[in-house]
């Protein structure tokens, strides 16, 4: 456990990507099975223990430390596990030596919610503060030390001098502690057999187009749909639905799993039937999709009722085909894959699948006009795909671009600020802002319309933080109410009716666009101006 804790701390303090790779690779080479496999799983977020929640840790500490002092400490440190690791009292008895990582994992795995209250303290007693930190991070499955699954796989490939593509393929079919993966990479055993497993393949992603222009002879355009990008995989008689991050979301959309009848890997947008995006299904613009809000009703559910399936019927608008039956299409140009995808469509149930249609335009200028009209049709923007591009994992320059419509802007007044966590702990970095419900000179009030915590630079954050501290009128734990004198120009993609806010409105993707140090608060926008932008 101490070796793992030392690795975690080294990763926390290592800035460069190469430095992180070296440190993980060193650890993987110098550590034996199964500890190194558990470490790899922990770093990539593949472990979770239902028995230990953040609230478990809080409750254990509340029994040992004054609750007020706990709250003040937690608020300052910005991280429950770290606060607990620092405040955990040293045991007053002779403790056994620290557990190995595998012992810790096995103990955590055996715990229930009830037994955690007596078992977790015994583990914590055997560790020093860095050990406790690593254990608690491990137990709650929230390492958050800037190690993506991709980085861990690269480190694995570097440690044993194998191809990262092979690591990615084999990895997904295996469970921690990945002994077969280590046996292959470190000891030269046969690679794990994954041919018949419904594995996730990394997505191909797009760069923002920004101010660049492309030649439509080389690029095809498609609408950018506002749903969730998904990968459908059918292999070995089983279908899985994966999100962008490779999370398995099949359970929330059982109708999609039932709908795919043959072995393939397809890429598309998961949507709910409706008329919000582009209107009813039609010729001019391919419509027929509800807003993201509607899709949200279906997300994160472990079980889905029949009523839910009927009220929010899911379907996938297909973008691409990676594998069809036993043929890997990823090396083919986009145009060829597109033809294969079109040919595939008649074999798929029409109520569950359609094809993302291409947007035809004579030249870039015409495409620009078409994109400008996308706002009225409540469409997020356009995708531009190089006609000869193979399907490659990640974001490769020049192949795919996303060209979102310009954001909407509104001037809001900062009302509340909350301390951030992680890198921004101790800074007031999460802002709630509002618009006037009438004429401010006639006694109108501000009503909250949204919350944002990005869009500004670190320098600006420092200035806003200072401003918040100087203009505090009230404190509620980690939240400060301000004197409502600072104006933010807030950018957002769309605005919807919502019961969650008193203003009755909710923004999608709000971010701080500019800080209007110069603008008096009375001149900020009114709720009516924002409501006029609703396209529900």
């Amino acid at each position: 456990m101490q070796d793992f804790a030392a690795l975690v701390d080294r990763l926390v303090y290592t800035r460069s990507r190469n430095g992180k790779l070296d440190r993980i690779a060193d650890y993987l080479r110098s550590t034996a099975d199964p500890d190194r496999g558990w470490a790899l799983a922990a770093l990539t977020g593949a472990l979770s223990f239902a028995a230990v929640k953040s609230s478990t840790i809080r409750n254990l500490l509340m029994e040992r430390v004054d609750p007020v002092l706990w709250n003040l400490s937690r608020d300052f440190v910005g991280d429950t596990a770290e606060t607990a690791s620092l405040l955990w009292p040293d045991p007053a008895y002779d403790v056994p030596p620290p557990p190995s990582l595998s012992e810790a994992v096995e103990t955590l795995d055996r715990m229930t919610r009830a037994s955690a209250l007596s078992e977790l303290p015994k583990l914590l007693d055997r560790l020093d503060p860095p050990g406790r930190y690593a254990l608690l991070k491990l137990a709650t499955g929230a390492m958050r030390i800037g190690i993506s699954a991709r980085l861990a796989k690269l480190a694995f490939a570097q440690a044993f001098d194998v191809r990262v593509e092979d690591v990615e393929e084999y990895w997904h079919g295996l469970a921690p502690p990945y002994e077969a993966l280590f046996a292959w990479a470190a000891d030269g055993a046969e690679p794990p057999d994954t041919g018949n497993m419904p594995l996730f393949r990394p997505f191909m992603l797009a760069h923002p187009l920004e101010d660049a222009r492309v030649d439509l002879a080389d690029y095809a355009a498609e609408w950018k749909w506002d749903g969730i990008r998904v990968q459908l995989v059918h292999a070995g008689g089983e279908t899985r639905l994966y999100s962008r991050t490779g999370d398995d979301i099949t359970g929330s959309f059982p109708e999609m799993a039932e709908a795919l009848p043959f072995a393939c890997v397809l890429d598309g947008e998961l949507l709910v039937r409706g008329s919000h995006q582009g209107g009813e299904a039609n010729e001019r613009i391919q419509g027929g999709a509800a807003s993201f809000n509607a899709l949200q009703q279906r997300l994160g559910r472990k079980t889905v009722s029949k009523a839910m399936r009927e009220q929010y019927p899911a379907f996938v608008r297909l973008y691409d085909a990676l594998i069809v039956e036993d043929e890997d299409l990823r090396e083919l140009p986009w145009e060829d894959r597109r033809r294969r995808l079109e040919a595939l469509l008649p074999r798929l149930p029409q109520d569950r699948f359609d094809l993302s249609s291409t947007v035809e335009a004579a030249d870039f200028e015409e495409l620009t006009r078409i994109r400008a009209s996308a706002r009225d049709d409540a469409i997020e923007g356009l995708m531009l795909k190089r006609r000869d591009s193979p399907y490659v994992a990640g974001r490769r320059v020049g192949l795919w671009y996303k060209w979102k419509r310009d954001p909407l802007l509104v001037d809001c007044v900062l009302m509340y600020a909350q301390r951030g966590s992680g890198k921004r702990s101790s800074f007031y970095s999460d802002y709630t802002f509002g618009c006037w419900d009438g004429d401010p000179d006639q006694g109108a009030e501000l009503l909250p319309v949204g919350k944002a915590y990005f869009g500004f630079t670190d320098e600006e954050l420092k200035k806003i933080d200072h401003y918040v501290r100087q203009h505090t009128t009230n404190r509620f734990g980690p939240v400060r109410e301000t004197d409502k004198s600072l104006v933010f120009e807030v950018a957002f993609d769309s605005v919807h009716e919502s019961k969650r806010h008193k203003s009755g409105l909710a923004m999608r993707f709000p971010r701080i666009h500019r800080i209007r140090w110069d603008k008096p608060a009375e001149e900020a926008d009114r709720i009516d101006a924002l409501r006029a932008l609703v396209r529900d």
Binding site: Y13, T14, L72, F76, V77, L86, S425
Partner: protein
């Protein structure tokens, strides 16, 4: 029975000693200032008269060309107007740092300024002294702050140095106090190689030497060749850590000597690779133990995390109040 103490009043920009019309560590220019130590948020220029220890006056002179200083030796009592006696007592914070004992009408008040209880080769240790009102700092006034023994932190630094003979270790340290303490502690722990300085630290180090603190061989980065720095310790003010200045160094490993390094995210915010938990302030245990040891009738808490220390006093049935003084910052301790 707690006396009235109307003669000493906390105001937003300092503690006012009313009969003597003097201010302790005022954040604005005043007629007479009683200054605990030389850090910029406590010692400001522009006062009519400044009462401070000789070392603090020398430090202020270096920074502001302070005029009309009245030196107060440790333990020496000075009678001010209005029948107020002041005595400067060692605070163990930095060179010249003092607690100020105020006596008036049979009542005793101590203002600690900043202090610590750990041994420090650059200044005499904090002297616990009985009093009625104990006005304490609370910079590290949260129970998460427990500063580890300095020997372990120096060993960490020397290990990294030995493991990276082709790099240098760049230590960010507050220009007054921390920088000199880190150097003196390194010497005490057997590091006798030359230590390289950012130019902004030179004068303060020389001043420490003038006051008899031996810092060993010091050299300036500006006079060294890049390759000379490999395998050596370089000390700079915290602001220079991620500055253009540090680009001239050979593969620097960024370290910072500060009590804040106890919290991982604080170190990450500074892009620190080697956090060294070295503080010139009292940690939580020192703050609470000192209150218990001095055992005043009442504790007033000034700058820092007042709420938690106030809570501790309540839990331990001690009378306490938090003062809302402005202008003190969480310095780069």
């Amino acid at each position: 029975m707690i006396a009235d103490f109307a003669w000493i009043r906390p105001e937003p920009h300092g503690i006012h000693v009313v009969p003597a019309d003097s201010w302790i560590d005022p954040s604005q220019p005043v007629e007479r200032a009683l200054v605990t130590h030389g850090h910029a948020d406590h010692a400001r220029g522009g006062h009519g008269q400044t009462v401070a220890t000789p070392a603090t006056l020398a430090i202020m002179d270096l920074r502001y060309q302070t005029k009309n200083g009245l030196p107060a030796e440790y333990g020496e009592t000075i009678r001010l107007a209005g029948g107020v006696d002041v005595t400067y007592l060692p605070a163990g914070h930095v060179l010249g740092s003092a607690q100020i004992l105020l006596e008036h009408a049979g009542e005793r008040v101590i203002v600690t300024g900043d202090y610590k209880r750990r041994a420090d080769p650059t200044c005499p240790p904090f002297l616990p002294t009985p009093c009625d009102i104990f006005i304490t700092e609370a910079t590290f006034g949260l129970p998460v702050f427990v500063h580890p023994p300095i020997a372990g932190e120096m060993a960490k630094l020397r290990t990294v140095l030995a493991e990276n003979p082709d790099a240098c270790v760049l230590v960010g340290a507050y220009a007054l106090g921390k920088a000199q303490r880190v150097i003196a502690e390194l010497r005490a722990h057997g590091h006798h190689d030359p230590i390289y300085l950012h130019g902004a630290l030179e004068k303060m180090c020389r001043l420490y030497e003038d006051f008899g603190i031996n810092l060993g061989e010091l050299r300036l980065v500006s006079e060294a060749k890049k390759d000379d720095l490999r395998g050596h310790v370089v000390v700079c003010p915290p602001g220079a850590l991620n500055d253009r200045w540090s680009r001239r160094l050979p593969d620097p490993i960024t370290a910072m000597a500060s009590g804040w390094m106890r919290v991982r995210q604080r170190a990450r915010q500074r892009n620190v690779e080697l956090p060294l938990i070295v503080s010139d302030h009292a940690d939580w245990c020192e703050l609470t133990d000192t209150i218990a040891e001095v055992n005043p009738h009442e504790t007033w808490i000034t700058h820092g995390r007042e709420e938690a220390l106030l809570r501790w006093c309540q839990l331990n049935q001690r009378r306490a109040r938090a003062l809302a003084l402005v202008g003190y910052e969480d310095e780069d301790d």
